[in-house]
């Protein structure tokens, strides 16, 4: 029982979410927030592999998300859309082709991360940071110059796949409402992402990542193939970010190169450092908290309430929630950094903070 308790809990939570979404107890907005939460979890945990576990400093993570999003979108349109000619597959095949599309997007993102992994053999932290920023700009700029996928105008048509899945849903499953397929796949991919990272980090092979973080020279002497470890780690991290990008594109139904700029990378970095470097549960918790915060601060009423003293002094100043939100969140982060510089969890996992939890589950 102890061995399976965690999995059962996760499966139960997923089923509850899906049922609630199916019967429209959670409306579309809350579903979208949950999906963005899942995507943010994927982004923060995958970046945590490089920034936390390996101790390198990457600040261009959105580039891989961009590659994944575009590759998945193009494949999606080719397979089920009508933009590039007739659909390749019938609509009924969309259930098992869709995850494959997302995975191919992740794979292409992993291949593109070799651009970063190769220079990382020789360069140290700050220089690597620069290389990743440069790669981020290069990817965005490169896609903006491709006119056949819309360039800087963006690219749409991925929703055809989602509608194909919805249309060919068997009637016993759908009932009156549309079945939330994208939510299902976001949950599945989030679980897959955490599973991959956990298995990789705790494996004997993955201990090499920790060794590289602690002391690269010593690791090299102790017969850890540091170049290979770095490459594998970058590729896993970028691949998962690519999957997140593909899901992101299918949730929104429109991608634009500028939505993957440095700000997006900054968001991912913020989540990692808010959760604590090298802590998987910290990354998950901070991604959930961050998504929640973003949505809470969207409400104009709350912002008006918070800004009441200022508007009392300057009556003709009207703060808009979308702008004040981005003042509040960094301010909150700066304060968190002042009072708890190691982030929410520090370098610990949940089971280290609450040792009694170990009695109830094992998480491998």
């Amino acid at each position: 029982m102890q061995k399976y308790s965690f999995n059962i809990l996760i499966a139960f939570a997923a089923v509850v979410l899906l049922v609630l979404a199916q019967y429209r107890i959670l409306d579309n907005y809350i579903q979208a927030v949950i999906m963005f939460g899942g995507i943010n979890i994927m982004m923060s945990t995958s970046l945590n592999l490089v920034n936390g576990n390996m101790g390198e400093f990457t600040c261009g993570h959105a580039a891989f998300m961009c590659v994944g999003a575009y590759v998945a979108s193009i494949l999606s349109v080719v397979c089920f859309g009508s933009k590039f000619g007739d659909p390749l597959f019938p609509a009924a095949a969309s259930y098992f082709v869709f995850p494959i599309i997302i995975l191919i997007g992740g794979f292409m993102a992993a291949l593109s991360s070799i651009l970063v992994a190769l220079p990382s053999f020789k360069t140290r932290d700050d220089y690597l940071a620069i290389i990743t920023i440069a790669v981020n700009y290069m990817v965005i700029s490169g896609i903006e110059n491709m006119d056949w996928i819309g360039g800087s105008r963006g690219f749409q048509g991925m929703k055809d796949t989602v509608w194909a899945m919805v249309d060919s849903t068997p009637s016993w499953l759908a009932g009156d409402n549309d079945f939330p397929w994208v939510l299902l796949y976001v949950i599945l991919f989030t679980i897959f992402d955490i599973w991959v990272i956990r298995r990789f980090i705790t494996s004997t092979y993955g201990k090499g990542v920790d060794a590289v973080c602690q002391d690269e020279t010593a690791a090299e002497i102790m017969s850890v193939n540091t170049n290979k470890i770095k490459t594998v780690n970058f590729m896993i991290s970028a691949g998962l970010a690519g999957c997140a990008g593909g899901l992101f594109a299918h949730v929104i139904g429109y991608v634009n190169p500028q939505s993957f700029n440095i700000l997006k990378s900054t968001e991912a970095m913020v989540m990692v450092y808010l959760g604590g470097m090298g802590s998987l549960s910290g990354a998950v918790i901070s991604a959930v908290v961050f998504t929640f915060l973003l949505e809470i601060l969207r409400s104009q009423a709350l912002i008006d309430f918070l800004m009441a003293p200022a508007t009392f002094v300057f009556p003709d100043w009207e703060p808009s929630a979308g702008v004040i939100k981005w003042v509040m969140i960094p301010l909150l982060l700066v304060l968190i950094m002042q009072f708890r510089p190691e982030g929410i969890m520090g370098n610990k996992e949940l089971s280290d903070v609450f040792p009694k939890l170990k009695k109830y589950y094992t998480f491998k």
């Binding site: 940071a129 440069a134 903006e144 950094m337 190691e342």
Partner: protein
Amino acid sequence: MDFIIQNIINALQWGSFYALIALGYTLVYGVLRLINFAHGDIFMVGAYIAFFVAGFMLGPALGLSPMVTFLLAVPLTMFLTACVGVTLERVAYRPLRRKGAHRLYVVITALMCGLILEYSNLAVLGASRLKFPELVHKTIWDIGGVTVTNLKVIVIFAAIAVFVILNFIVTKTKIGMAMRGISYDKFAIPLMGIPIDQIIVFTFILGSGFAGLAGLLFAMSYPVLEPFMGMLIGWKAFIAAVVGGIGDIRGAFYGGFLLGFIEVGVVTVFPSTYRDLFAFTILLIILWMKPTGLFGMPQSTKI
């Protein structure tokens, strides 16, 4: 031939801005080993401060002539922007340094401070772009088909002058020696009786002051101000500093001009949308060849 010389002058002007901002990055990095990501936004704040200073001086309260305003706005803008930079250091970076937090947490704090500056500016002043008043009357000299404006000459000379001043401060004065000492060994320096915090504040004053100067000159050359003007140019200036070899003043100077030349060169040959792509690809290749930048010292690790 005229065409080439014209583009060289444009590249010099464009590179001057990069060099001015990159110098600030390099100073702070060299002393603190901290990438001050808020520096691009300090440049933006400097441009806005220059706007308000110039508006106040030209306005009905004082009513000075534009030329006098320019001469007075330079020191005032530099001083006020330096105050902003020092405030950042006091409020955000110093407590973290005292606690001995991990370097990367300081970097994240710097990023967040930059975002706060951008969006608070957007919240207070609104999204409408501001038009910078004309301070220096534009005179255009035509030398054999090459047009040179007096603004371009001012900008290029300002960059060179700042470089010379900084080089003098760092290599010839006592305070510069203290700076170099801190970057060499942070733990032995306080034992020698050097006030480490004062030196760091002085570094921030220098870096932010020159960012303010860059903001003023940029606003005069391209007189449209918006809250996000510092973002792209800040990141690019940082990249220029790294390509030159971060922590090295010569490196920042040459790196800035190199990036300016690359960008202007790409725009003259290819469509302008390819600017970022080519510039960053070339920079990647340079870093590939020389992993610690053009002037950076190769780091050796003791085993």
